[in-house]
């Protein structure tokens, strides 16, 4: 039994926990392009002060949080009715409907983002449609804007929202809804006083599963966003791969981690709680 505990424990401590200690150590170092690897170790706060005083980095932090928050909200507004509708479908249909939500998650993330590149380009299918139907005379280009980034995040992360929502809505006791109706509650009142509070664990889990990775997202702003779309995941990537500034990239990683440690802990607590209920 000790061995069974030790195997995953040692693996994750070595390859997941230990690396964070290294990132922390290197984040206080300075960049030295002549060294291999390009790092001078030290105890300098230079990287951190830069991250929180330079306008560019500040804009990237705020941009990430704002884009992640609005996309999470849109995903929730789209995912909630979907999850709800699946629980109301015929029981024999439900596994099929759920599988259809999961399937995109099993196909390539990169390919799903790529799909929107062709759709959103200036002569893309969406613009042709808008022009031909006369809805918008000159739609402009959506690709390369923040709109496209939002759309990409909502599209890519929708399955992560629908699944936990479905799991909590499925357990909903429908006799409570009947009781509410018998006592004279309108369907809307019943929804806000019975359905929504009971599905709150699913709402929280779904929102965290979308928000946390969206804050650090790189592929979507890189492929769908423009030069003015500033997100912190892309900043980290560029500092590392383009500028080869490893200490600064490490500092970005540490700050991102500190920023997300609250949401991550909340997610873990909820996972543990739902396990106890089982």
């Amino acid at each position: 039994m000790r061995l069974v505990i030790a195997l995953p424990y040692v693996w994750l401590a070595t390859f997941f926990l230990l690396p964070f200690a290294l990132v922390l150590a290197i984040a206080f170092g300075t960049n030295n392009p002549d060294a291999v690897p390009p790092i001078d170790l030290g105890v300098s706060l230079k990287n951190f002060t830069l991250l929180f005083t330079d306008d560019l980095y500040l804009a990237a932090w705020l941009g990430s949080l704002r884009i992640a928050a609005t996309s999470t909200l849109v995903t929730l507004l789209l995912g909630y009715p979907m999850a709800y509708a699946i629980t109301r479908a015929r029981p024999s249909l439900r596994p099929l409907l759920l599988m259809a939500v999961i399937l995109p998650f099993w196909t390539s993330f990169l390919i799903r983002v790529y799909a929107w590149m062709g759709l959103l380009s200036s002569n893309g299918i969406l613009n042709q449609f808008l022009r031909n139907t006369g809805l918008v005379a000159d739609p402009g280009t959506i690709l390369g804007t923040e709109w496209a980034v939002h759309l990409g995040i909502v599209y890519a992360y929708l399955p992560f929202m629908v699944l936990p929502l479905y799991a909590s809505l499925e357990k909903l006791d429908t006799s409570l809804l009947e009781a509410a109706a018998d006592l004279g509650a309108s369907p809307i009142t019943a929804f806000f006083t019975v359905t929504l509070p009971q599905s709150l664990p699913g709402v929280v889990a779904g929102c965290l599963l979308v928000f946390i990775p969206a804050v650090g997202e790189f592929v979507i702003p890189d492929l769908l966003g423009g030069t003015d779309t500033l997100m912190i995941g892309k900043v980290l990537w560029d500092e590392f791969f383009l500028n080869s500034d490893w200490p600064l990239a490490s500092a970005v990683a540490i700050c991102l981690l500190v920023l997300l440690v609250g949401p991550i802990a909340l997610f873990q607590r909820q996972q543990a709680k739902s396990l106890e209920r089982q």
Binding site: L7, L158, A249
Partner: protein, 263 residues
């Protein structure tokens, strides 16, 4: 009641159209004569021929497949252990940390995991001249984030079924290992199988972690695709996407069949 049913139908139609229309269009335009993915110029399979003649792409695909096989298998073993511990061992020293370590990679931003693992490999290379960046480091990175997904599936399956079978075996004098081998493992084998499949597809798809830890010589399929789509849309990628969607659908159906089949 009729109004509610119509609402549900509308929501589902809209939701699934949103999920599937982009993918359907990607597949459709892989058969387009024109290089542009915006104009339909007649049916053609030339992009498919071009894809199968694209040696860099094929080499990358072969490397990705080998990495996915290795990492899914190792992740299945470690994930099985982790899921079993989470579901069956309520108390031991460091249990809370253990739970966090298993779940955290699921939500950790990939850029953060990527840079931290790379630094580990660089430091280790400096100290003991090992490991060389390439197949091994990519596989280790993929294993590390796949463990969580296998563990969650295994844990859910274990929480689902009756412990009395295991207890009966122990009462009859079976050692914990024999009980695990003859009772527990056959019952959760489908979950391990579907966890393996999930780890396999995650490994095949990963770009960010891989880009950090890959080194100069190795190029996996997502890395190849990424450097190609950065330059714009390319119908060859549409053809590749069609294959990926088909394979993913088969894997998912097989995984669904595995988990639903009662042992």
């Amino acid at each position: 009641m009729v109004g509610r049913a119509r609402f549900a139908l509308t929501v589902l139609a809209f939701g699934y159209a949103f999920l599937y229309l982009p993918i359907a269009l990607v597949i459709l335009y892989s058969f387009n004569e024109s290089r542009l993915v915006t104009v339909w110029a007649g049916f053609s399979t030339k992009w498919w021929s071009a894809l199968f003649a694209n040696e860099a792409m094929l080499r990358a695909a072969w490397l990705s497949l080998r990495i996915a096989l290795v990492s899914a298998t190792v992740a299945a073993v470690i994930g099985l252990a982790a899921g079993y511990v989470l579901a069956r061992v309520p108390r031991f020293f460091g249990r809370t940390l253990f739970g966090s370590l298993v779940i955290a990679p699921m939500v950790m931003p990939e850029v953060v995991m990527g840079i931290s693992m790379l630094l580990l490999f660089v430091v280790s290379d400096q100290l003991v001249s090992w490991p060389n960046r390439g197949f091994l480091t990519i596989a280790i990175a993929h294993i590390t984030f796949s463990i969580a997904f296998v563990a969650v599936v295994v844990q859910a399956r274990l929480a689902d079924f009756d412990r009395s079978l295991e207890e009966a075996a122990m009462d009859l004098g079976a050692t914990p290992w024999t009980t695990f081998r003859t009772i527990t493992l056959p019952l959760i084998a489908p979950a391990v199988g579907s966890g393996w499949l999930l780890a396999f597809t995650l490994s095949l798809d990963d770009l960010i972690l891989t880009q950090f830890v890959a080194g100069a010589q190795s190029e996996t399929l997502p890395m190849r695709v990424y450097s190609s789509v950065r330059l714009g849309v390319d119908p060859q990628i549409n053809a590749l996407a069609t294959i990926i969607v088909a394979v993913a659908a088969c894997a998912l159906i097989f995984s669904g069949w595995l988990t639903r089949r009662k042992a």
